[in-house]
């Protein structure tokens, strides 16, 4: 840990020297970059609950101890988008796969100058590309995870090998689906082999009927993970659409749970950070993002939430066999077998969420 920290400081030192040199060459006013430890100011991050914990920005905290970081909490992607659209003054925000295009279309996000991010080189190109819209790097990828089926091995000893378990009458009253229209479209697309980026009106109608029928087996739709975890813990829920963070939590409690590897492939999502257009704290925001990509922060994400980190040094240092299994780190084809969530258009979002509202409103 100590050596990592000093490495980090060294990198920082190099960065400072580099910035000084650049600004000197630029011929501007002599730069007086304050040493990181003396840097002051404040940043506001619009985050998901849980990620505000210090573990998930520990590198920034240690490098810039005098900078105040405030967190606002967003409940969902839609909530974060609505807040930013309504003029939220957060400097940095944290959207997930599917939602990036809207921020660019609405002019809410600043292009990121990745030359200011010393840790950017540790991110593979395939992930970098996911944060590009219209050829520009508006977002930096950060956390990676799967959506799959989390199930109780004591209740379903035969195991789960398909997304279709979520509609299986055999488990009537013991299924829980995520309360999300686009999520439901994704699951149906996997089951029936639809092209998720090009769902036709007929397919959407069939998907609606499928989920209306699914309510016969569904106990409740979950919105927040604690609600889902409580359902699985109490034994009410046997199989559910879930993110691997919930798997981590329940496994950690010693519950008999497993995370399926469905034959249609798991779904994968990536979390990104964007910088609000017009933020007065651009410099600090870039520093925050750079430290987000640093190793200690990424390692905490892996160890505490079982989510992947885009920093490949972090992933290479994973030794826990269970984590290697979860991420499929030994499987060279894992990315081919994974379905990444595509970006939605506004029309798709409106049609898919309306479809879901009709499912919930159906008698």
């Amino acid at each position: 840990m100590k050596s990592k920290r000093s490495m980090l400081f060294k990198t920082q030192g190099w960065m400072v020297a580099f910035v000084l040199l650049l600004s000197a060459c630029g011929g501007g006013a002599p730069a007086t970059e304050v040493p990181p430890a003396e840097q002051t100011g404040s940043l506001t991050v619009l985050e998901w609950a849980g990620y505000d914990a210090e573990d998930f920005w520990v590198d920034f905290k240690n490098t810039y101890p005098k900078v105040t970081v405030n967190f606002e909490i967003g409940a969902s992607d839609a909530d974060i988008f609505n807040k930013m659209k309504a003029g939220d003054q957060a400097d940095i925000f944290h959207p997930y796969s599917g939602w990036l295009q809207f921020y660019v279309d609405e002019g809410l996000v600043e292009e990121i100058d990745t030359s200011k991010l010393a840790n950017w080189d540790k991110v593979p190109d395939s992930y970098k590309k996911l944060g590009q819209i219209n050829g520009k790097q508006y977002f930096i990828p950060w956390d990676i995870g799967f959506s799959s089926i989390l199930y109780r091995t004591d209740k379903i000893p035969e195991g789960v090998d398909s997304w279709a378990v979520l509609t299986d009458p055999k488990y009537k009253g013991h299924i829980s689906m995520w309360d999300d229209g686009p999520g439901a479209v994704t699951v149906s697309a996997y089951i029936h082999g639809y092209d998720e980026t090009n769902i036709t009106a007929d397919q959407l109608a069939a998907i609606k009927d499928e989920w209306i029928t699914q309510r016969n087996v569904n106990l409740f739709y979950w919105s927040g993970e604690p609600e889902l975890q409580e359902g699985i813990r109490s034994g009410d829920i046997w199989a559910a659409y879930a993110w691997q963070g919930s798997y981590a939590v329940l496994l950690g409690e010693g519950l008999p749970v497993a995370y399926a590897n469905p034959k249609e492939g798991r779904n994968s999502w990536v979390g990104f950070y964007g910088i609000r257009k017009g933020t007065p704290n651009m410099n600090l925001a870039l520093k925050f993002l750079n430290e987000k990509l640093a190793e200690a922060t990424g390692t905490n994400v892996v160890n505490e939430f079982y989510y992947g980190d885009v920093n490949q040094d972090v992933m290479k240092s994973v030794t826990d066999p269970m984590l290697i299994d979860i991420f499929g780190l030994k499987d060279p084809d894992i990315l081919e077998k994974t379905n990444f969530t595509p970006n939605l258009t506004a029309e798709q979002r409106d049609a898919w969420t309306a479809m879901w509202a009709e499912v919930k409103a159906a008698p």
Partner: protein, 294 residues
Amino acid sequence: MGEGWRGGRGLDQRATFWFIYLPPLIWLGIFFALPVLLMAAFSFRPDMRGDFLQLWTPTLDQYASVASTISYLRLLKDSIIIALGIGVATVVLAYPLAYFLALRAGSRAGFYLVLLLVPFWTSYLLRVMAWKILLGTEGVINSLLIYLNVIHEPLTALLYNRAAVILTLIYVWIPFAALPILAALQRIDPILFEAAADLGARPLRQFTRITLPLSLPGVFAAFFMVFIPTVGEYVTPLLVGGSRGFLYGNIIQDFFTKASNWPLGSALSMIMLATTMILVLLATRLIDLRQLFE
């Protein structure tokens, strides 16, 4: 002197009027009337693209989309019927409580009133969560029944359905509903009971001829206090309603939050607002509240 004094008093009255009425008027104007107007305006917006406060060409698209979706309208109808039922059940259950507090509790009325209000000291969410603990498969009721050997498998029908939503809402509303009934009962002059007794009216007749009619304004106030917010209720269905317990308010909430589709959410809200207002107006026509309050 006399005139000047009167003039001063007039000014004073006007000042008092503004002092008393202006703050709540401003408050309601900014935080109630303005948002409702904004929502009305949003309901004529074609979509969410562009700035929040920009000019847009009004369109009836959102209303057309609601009108063509039978399930939304059917859910509104169901929600109104459920709210009616909850309103009636709550008033019927709250009445005896209010009656006891007003006419039977005597010097202990204050103490009992505090007891009635104790639930309000904890958060609404906590109280609804407590119902989950009561009704869940490993909950109090199931555990007790299994312990008593009445059942062997936990009953799953207790939670995550519309019945659970109705049960929980009635429980939540009873103390609220008791208050206006209590106020109405306290306003009844006790001399009326003495007079009735002197004229030979038995207790039941006293109740049906004096107590009940005179307390009706409180009863109707209580009913509307329960009915109106229940039509748009969405928290309780989320917590205990399961996949089939949703009410119309949940659909509105979804469009405002998950779907980021405020125009459609606004149209759904305006339709609910209009329907509720029409129903209340109809009810007041039928019952003639003014006569009751005189």
